[in-house]
Symmetry: C2
Subunit: 596 residues, 2 copies
């Protein structure tokens, strides 16, 4: 392809709103262009990179035995109502009302659609296992689209769904996808790591996230400095931490008037107490009990109304961990942060202390180990506009602390830099930011039960199909590549997803140089090496800068002088120097460079 | 691929609502499934056919020198307001309001988006010509989606846009796309014809339509029985037809009371007059005059308010022809069928006769040649609930008929079966139904002017870029193939777009037959021939019927008996008989069959 015959609108300046390297460079190199908030044109170079990544994804999905389908973006709202995700997705869900007044969802994902498809067409264990995938455009109404391709409202995604008869089979299907993902990102030439992850609003029982480093990434990745643990912060466990409710009071309980202070930091500052010496008390509503009369509802079910979570003032409650602890310790199906104003007032939210949980017969309390310590504490006074100093666990809460049906200690907070590794081998946790480029989930039967996707076993008994789901944001492969691989001059594409493998830069595109450039271009193209020929009427410096900016792996400079000796200059994008190569050797050397 | 490892939900019965072969067979063969009105799942077999067609389209676009891009489906409403198409597209335009209340269009096409892109990035003649294309999902809110993939609300389309500096260059770009389309449909193996077409709401100056035969098609194709003319009925011209306003009255003008008759046929029946002896008079509003003070507005511009069209009662006015005649004969920029109730009442719409045009000083009249005849006529009496018999052109309209500034005769109706060919070589026109599978347009500067897409020539002067646009509905390639190529047993895919090239049917999938089937499957796959192995536990008759239904070009039956002699049965889908072939010859024969 000749530069002048396609559209490569490079620009010298970074766009004003672009804060991260991938956003800056993908725009400056003319790969993408914003059409409207969170929706980007992929220009010719951008499309080529995207398409090469897509091709690798497709090849590896096929190799893993998955069958490709293509499902509509338009999805009937009714399907989402069946799974309850019309509510769970909230404002992120884009809708379109048709001319007859019916509402369609613009799919952000396709669990409902594919489950309904399988429910209608798979009936027997003989048709399982089955893995279907598609490469298709997704929509999500992000509140604040930003960072270029990172947080967008329309994006290309590969989503796969596995259907199995039993858990062992699911494990095999999951592993196949896990392995395929590893091959995909390796082949694309981007650095990545795999971390344990929470499954998020998609629901499910186990998941791994494939992440790439990115300072603007939405994910906090937690790793052990021993190198044997990695997880998303939403999932990351923390190692053993000794704790006790014992110990004598450090002083008399002292009430302090603390009006008009919006945050715990303000309160601490006013009271001259560090936030790590404060107890943060959050109240959640217990939810999801089987309805009255349901056979799942035990006769003598104890049903606490409230779950009170207590963590240190400088820590954040991890809702997933809290939910899990509430399930395991108190058999509470689900929890929800208190939000109705009346109940919040009853609990004195903002001024609530742990002893309030003890006094409320319908409440249970879960305390993080770091909060269950024999030390000085400040906390809420359970009275509007008041806090207390010298809170003592035993004095304030008494015997209830010893009742495991009332109070338990459990890891319910987000991991932080310096925490002990959950491997309990002396490792310390570190945190870093990254973006999710792929995600594999074990879904279980959430969707198959909601949408009646069942199979008959060899004895004719019906069971819900066990599902997994697996996503890759194809555009994020480009982000990951550019974030990891660039220098001050521009992008340095991995060969596998470079828009072109080779760029030919004639010093002047005329006479013998032009002929040689045209001939070499055709030779390389015939050999299946996609080649861009910079035929612009521009100074060599401009062309070199352009080639470096768009990041083509191999540049071939052709000039009069070299040509007289039958030579051209070969300059890998990664290298600092060029080497003179005779025309007859070019092809071999280019192939070697691209394979390296 | 093994049948049991993918999803091929064939069914015996035609779906109740499926009226045409492609709809019936694509569903019965398990290629597609309706998710919601006008939105279909492409199941594994359907996706494979679609993907093969897509690949051919992409290859030929690239070969024609076009560069691929990918533009968002979400388009800001403001862009459509600039081109005026937010109104012109009407209810077909799908919209989605985002969480901040802004409205996006779900693109049915991308002229605005790509013109705006080019406007921002192309400035010089040196960057032209340029052709960009994409293969992307389109949305259109059809009033009544039906006929399976034929009339849908979401569909995969290849749309290309050319940008040129002058008309000669546009002609070259247009021809390249025309040739590429010819190669695409030929390679896909579907019968098609190319017809001259009107450009429709997309605006423009010249277009060709690539059509495939389909009884449920929305297009009426007009061809000459001499084989030298083909056009869409919207565009089809009609050969010379002698006409005259002369001739004496055939009788006294006779008024007839005709109340409560909704159509011309009812009136004719009541009056005992055939509709071909009636004159149909339609009134259009003249529109689009340059505004007062505009430099485009000639001083002494004559500005008729009304265009009165007269055709024979059994003919239909062709608005595109009428518009063209109004422009050429009276310099009227645009016309619009009268729709405001007050003015319709003034014109006695439903009871209007040609003489009304003569009496109205601000009206001009265009009469179709078949209506300008010396014969008996019945027509409207220009009085509510009354018609007249024995209308005579000269008696009723007088000298105005001789004034070319008031009345002209021109071809303003749709062509019909039996009309003279516009080649005027004695040929007669025939009509047939078809579907549009591709369309090439010369757009001109409609969008570049609306969206300021200009280039500077070599003297630094600015001109609007001249555009063309080119579309292929990829799903319609599948419809065209199935409509043309099927029999009572199922689909007969052309090899180029068949979901699989070969299907292996072991008589029983066990023992040596299984081993031989597996081995042959792997051999064919290794040779790059995509092969489906029917590993189901089913009777041979069921498997044969399934293979015929899904239409795989070559079937290989493997049974115990043949295998003992080292032979298998080769059965092309098109052929009635199978032949025994030795295992060593299978590969060669399969390749020969697929290439034929």
């Amino acid at each position: 392809m000749r530069w002048s015959q396609t559209l490569i609108p490079t620009q010298k300046e970074n766009p004003a709103d672009a804060q991260i390297a991938s956003h800056q460079l993908l725009i400056r190199a003319g790969l993408i262009r914003q059409l409207t908030a969170g929706a980007y044109d992929f220009l010719p170079l951008g499309f080529r990179a995207l398409h090469k990544a897509t091709k690798i994804v497709r090849e590896e999905m096929d190799r893993a035995g998955a069958s490709e389908v293509l499902l509509p973006a338009l999805q009937p709202l009714e399907l989402w109502q069946k799974s309850g995700r019309d509510v769970a997705y909230g404002d992120n869900l884009m809708r379109s009302k048709d001319r007859h007044g019916r509402i369609n969802i613009l799919g952000p994902t396709h669990e409902e659609v594919i489950t309904e498809l399988v429910a209608a067409n798979v009936t027997s264990y003989k048709q399982l296992p089955l893995t279907l995938y598609q490469i298709q455009t997704k929509f999500r109404d992000e509140f604040r689209p930003r960072f270029g391709l990172l947080r967008v409202r329309e994006f290309l995604m590969k989503d796969a769904y596995s259907f199995d008869a039993d858990v062992e089979s699911l494990d095999r299907s999951y592993q196949k996808m896990y392995d395929a993902y590893t091959r995909i990102f390796s082949r694309c030439g981007i650095p990545f790591s795999v971390v344990e992850a929470e499954s998020g609003p998609i629901g499910g029982s186990a998941s791994h996230e494939f992440t790439a480093a990115c300072d603007a990434g939405e994910d906090i990745i937690v790793t052990s400095d021993k190198g044997n643990y990695a997880a998303n912060v939403e999932k990351a466990e923390i190692g053993e931490r000794p704790h006790t409710f014992g110990g004598d009071p450090k002083g008399e309980l002292q009430k302090v008037h603390t009006p008009n202070m919006p945050g715990i930091d303000d309160v601490g500052k006013f009271m001259k107490v560090k936030s790590k010496s404060m107890l943060k008390t959050l109240v959640f509503k217990a939810r999801g009990w089987p309805s009255v009369g349901s056979s799942d509802r035990p006769e003598n079910l104890s049903r606490p109304n409230w779950v009170v979570a207590v963590v240190r003032g400088d820590h954040d409650v991890n809702e997933a961990k809290l939910k899990k602890a509430a399930q395991e310790k108190f058999q509470i199906p689900a929890i929800e942060l208190l939000d109705d104003p009346e109940t919040r007032a009853e609990w004195c939210i903002g001024f609530c202390g742990p002893d309030a949980a003890v006094k409320n017969l319908r409440a249970v309390m879960i305390v993080d180990p770091d909060a269950a310590q024999d030390t000085f504490w400040a906390t809420g006074a359970n009275e509007i506009d008041y806090h207390v100093k010298y809170f003592n666990w035993f004095r304030e809460c008494g015997q209830a602390l010893a009742d495991p049906k009332k109070v338990v200690v459990a890891d319910i907070r987000n991991a932080m830099e310096g925490d002990p590794s959950p491997k309990n081998d002396g490792g310390k946790l570190k945190t870093s930011r990254g973006i999710e480029i792929g995600h594999v989930f074990k879904l279980g039967t959430k969707y198959s039960e909601a949408l009646d996707a069942n199979y008959l076993d060899d004895e004719g008994k019906s069971h819900p199909i066990i599902m997994g789901c697996y996503g890759i944001g194809i555009g994020r492969i480009l982000i990951a590549a550019v974030e990891a691989l660039h220098d001050e001059r521009g992008i340095i594409w991995p060969a596998a997803i470079a828009p072109y493998s080779v760029i030919i830069t004639p010093i002047r595109y005329e006479g013998e140089v032009k002929d040689a450039a045209d001939k070499l271009h055709d030779q390389l193209e015939s050999a299946g090496i996609d080649t861009l020929l910079d035929d612009r009427d521009a100074r060599p410096g401009v062309k070199f800068a352009g080639a470096d900016l768009i990041g083509i792996p191999v540049r071939i400079n052709i000039g009069d002088r070299g040509l007289k000796e039958g030579k051209v200059e070969l300059k890998p994008r990664k290298a600092t120097d060029a080497t003179m190569v005779s025309l007859s050797d070019v092809m071999g050397q280019v192939k070697a460079l691209l394979a390296s």
